[in-house]
């Protein structure tokens, strides 16, 4: 935000600035630094600084790299477009109109986050491939679409569009109908005032969430690997995973390639910054205006159907595929009544407490991560948006970096950083290292959510608190945070959802003998029991959906509908 002169009131709290700086240093900068070091010094893992840059340049001059990077870019942009096309209309409808069952749609659209991407991809394959569930039920299969670049984009779009949906529906809700109504008084029809006013005003949310989607999709491994490899569509991240998935592994090479991913994300990030600083989006001013959602009228049914259709595609299909697999005694047996049963579920319960322990671990970790990442995210975004000076661009850039790093690489960075022999104390090999890893990986979400919201806040709201005698910290707690709370609640629910099912980092950095749901599910797959794993996945999704839902209802009840985001 361009601002005229130095304003103490708008500078924000120094305490918060330092919390943000130290928090980001610890959680993000240190692991990233070690990744860079690893990329440069191939022998760094064993403590040696020998042969600097030997692998670095070798990896970078690989002639394939260009093609891989191109594919990655194509995939990232394509996914972004798919996600935007799916999310923008839904978010606008959800935020500006009274959509029947809105909370239920929200919950359903949250589910794509809770399904681990590798399971979702498997679900899609098992549904759409020849002799898949779709063919078994209807006689047609969609393999040509599924195994195509468009298919990958579509599926990744379906997996990620809820980020855009949630950020944007908060943004739209804040914008309300007020500004477009003004446009209508001046002769713009409903559509034109949406295009000319509401949508441009939602740029903070749109840009922030599309940046998230872009970073997520260039880093995502599961889907492009499962679908892309078959058609020879390789992306950078498959290169990274290949270097790490089989013996001999090539850590410096994958670290180097990750840096390529990061630089792509940073370019996208600069673009986002440019978009947001070019104009002014501060619409929450000192003269609040009442805003009621409009009635849909005759559109109620079509809109409900649209929501149902998208929710079915994004959530229903994968969940049904999961359920079908969980209920099938054998995969080759197909969807025949004789092959269906609750065997896997009873085996799951019979497997004793192990699954339950894993579930408990994940829930505790998920909740803690959500709270801490939410708080740190809000503080970071606040320091970035309200602060001044170069440091904030660095902070801002840092906060998106982990999102573009594959989980494995982040995990390696964290191990490198926190398993140094000279550290007096270290969270390594305790559950806290998982917390660190999760916060690192998921921090981008709350930061972007908060950034989007903060860009909408007028300066005078905080300024007047300062003049009323509140210190910067208190002004943040009493004024700024409550105003962005709706976004933060959503962000935290998302963080909870992802943290409670995160696999790759969990697998790699988990303390020996510590299990999380995702690890447990993965092990079931690894033992060849897709059914058992799917049963577990299904239960996990159910539980991770119900918990935040219960939480929202509780908050809603407690706040008696006064918190905007919960309406």
């Amino acid at each position: 935000m361009a601002r005229g002169a130095v304003a103490t009131g708008a500078e924000g709290s120094a305490t918060l600035k330092w919390i943000a700086i130290i928090g980001l240093l610890l959680v993000v900068a240190i692991p990233c630094l070690f990744i860079v070091v690893q990329a440069i010094f191939p022998e760094f893992g064993s403590g040696s600084f020998a042969a600097p840059f030997s692998v670095f340049f070798k990896t970078l001059i690989d002639p394939d790299l260009f093609g891989l990077a191109g594919n990655t870019l194509l995939l990232g942009v394509g996914t972004m477009v798919c996600a935007a096309i799916l999310a923008v209309p839904l978010a606008a409808l959800r935020a500006l109109f009274r959509v029947p069952g809105a909370l239920i749609w929200d919950a359903l659209l949250l589910i794509p986050f809770m399904i681990p991407p590798y399971i979702a991809a498997l679900g899609w394959i098992m549904t759409l491939q020849p002799r898949g569930y779709l063919e078994q039920l209807t006689g047609i299969h969609l393999a040509p679409l599924l195994f195509s670049v468009t298919g990958i984009m579509l599926i990744m779009g379906l997996n990620t569009f809820s980020v855009v949906y949630f950020v944007l529906s908060r943004t739209f809700e804040t914008i309300g109908a007020r500004y477009s109504d003004v446009g209508r008084v001046f002769g713009a029809g409903q559509w034109r005032s949406f295009w000319r006013i509401t949508l441009p005003l939602s740029m903070p949310g749109l840009a922030a969430s599309l940046l998230l989607v872009f970073a997520m999709s260039i880093e995502e491994y599961g889907t492009p690997a499962a679908l892309g490899r078959r058609i020879g569509f390789e992306v950078l991240v498959t290169g990274i995973e290949n270097r790490i998935s089989e013996w001999p592994i090539d850590l410096p090479g994958s670290a180097t390639l990750s840096l390529v991913l990061v630089s792509m994300a940073l370019v996208a990030f600069m673009l986002q910054r440019w978009l947001l600083t070019r104009r002014d989006y501060r619409i929450v001013g000192g003269k609040p205006q009442a805003f009621d959602k409009k009635e849909l009228g005759v559109w109620t049914l079509p809109v409900s159907l649209l929501f149902a259709f998208v929710a079915f595609l994004a959530t229903g299909l994968p969940i049904l595929a999961i359920l079908a697999t969980a209920l099938s005694r054998t995969i080759s047996g197909g969807l025949k009544p004789s092959n269906l049963g609750l065997d896997h579920f009873s085996e799951l319960l019979g497997a004793g407490s192990e699954g339950l322990v894993a579930l408990g671990n994940s829930l505790v970790l998920g909740t803690t991560t959500a709270l801490l990442a939410g708080l740190l995210g809000a503080i970071t975004a606040y320091s970035v948006v309200k602060g001044r000076g170069r440091f904030r661009i660095v902070l801002d850039a840092l906060s998106i970096t982990p999102n573009s790093l594959p989980g494995v690489v982040v995990a390696v960075g964290i191990i490198l950083a926190w398993n140094q022999p000279w550290l007096p104390i270290t969270p390594y090999n305790t559950p806290f290292i998982l917390l660190l890893a999760y916060i690192c990986i998921l921090l981008p979400q709350p930061v972007r959510y908060a950034t989007a919201s903060l860009h909408q806040l007028g300066d005078n709201l905080e300024a007047s608190a300062r003049v009323c005698g509140s210190g910067p910290l208190k002004a943040f707690v009493r004024i700024v945070f409550p105003l962005i709370l709706p976004s933060m609640v959503t962000a935290m629910i998302l963080v909870f959802a992802v943290a409670s099912r995160e696999l790759v980092a969990s697998l790699l950095v988990a303390p020996v003998g510590f299990q999380t749901i995702a690890v447990f599910i993965w092990q079931q797959f690894d033992q060849g029991s897709a059914g058992l794993g799917m049963a577990m996945a299904f239960c996990a999704v159910l539980i991770t959906t119900l918990i935040p839902l219960a939480l929202i209802s509780l908050l809603r009840w407690a706040s008696k509908g006064t918190v905007a985001g919960l309406r």
């Binding site: 209508r184 029809g189 409903q190 005003l201 104009r279 619409i283």
Partner: protein, 363 residues
Amino acid sequence: MISSPSAPAQSHALAIRSVSMSYGAENVLNDISVDLAPGQVLGLLGPSGCGKTTLLRLISGLLLPDAGEIEIAGGKVAVPEAGIALPPEKRGLGMVFQDYALWPHMSVARNVAFPLQMKRVGAAECKERVAKALDRVGLGAMAERRPSDLSGGQQQRVAIARAIVAEPPLVLFDEPLSNLDRELRETMVEEIADLVAELNLSAVYVTHDHSEALTLSDHVAVMRGGRIEQTASPHDLVNHPATSAVADFLRLGCLMPVARVADGWTIEGTGLVLPEGAFEGAQAQVLLPEKALRLGASGPSTLKTTVVRAQTRSTGQALTLRVTGTPHLIRLSSSSPVKAGDMLDLSFSPEDLRWFPISDQPT
């Protein structure tokens, strides 16, 4: 894009008939009826919170009435009983919002250009008209700024420019000059008056500044608590206020209770006896209009007063006088210097008094 509602016999630019409206349980507007002929300006005066903005929102289509009928240029635009509710963009209006409602993401020029673009005015003409509108409000130099980089008054002027740039047949002004200095306000009032006259526009003009309302309006409606107390021309309003509330609100003079005595009426506390007013009953109120008062004891009736306060004004002094023997205050401006504590005689002629029933107490 503004398709004016079909006008069979365009006798009214705006007609509001028995409109009522509530926010939830709270009744905000009650049985409002107003007519406005083309080319005229309707001033809306009323205390804070009486429903002026709500009425404008009903006219513009941002709110729907609970009951009643609104017609613009002869076409019905809102009749809840018949399910008619023309959206705002079909009503062909301009509006200055009380909180300006400028679009923060557009530059000043783009804000102002919006209504023109909606009418598909060509780029060149659009540019020219925007420049002209901005010049009108004295902001020609600030076209490329963001609204948030302007002072409060400058923002308000952008809102005015946006409302008039497309020269819509009906313009709604919601306290458009509240943040401008007096000089600018006078210029702007003239601009607006010229515009209305030149283009034969109609306007509804909400203001708290009586002189603005009286200057600009062909008719003034005085609202109070969601009702219209009186609609009249400025001259009638000032000379024949319908109720004591109107008189009080317009600060026409001093309202005093009077009681019937043997030979007429007396203003309680003074020895003054008034001849019979055209009025029944034992109690009443009289309005002693400020403009009927003369300093000195030369007129037919005389009041003794004490100067409570004498404040400097640019055109002399504003005096607050207390009628001796009563708590009633009289405001008066005078160019001869007096000071607090002085005794002054005021004279007036009884036929200038206005009589109101006592029940009709101003709040």
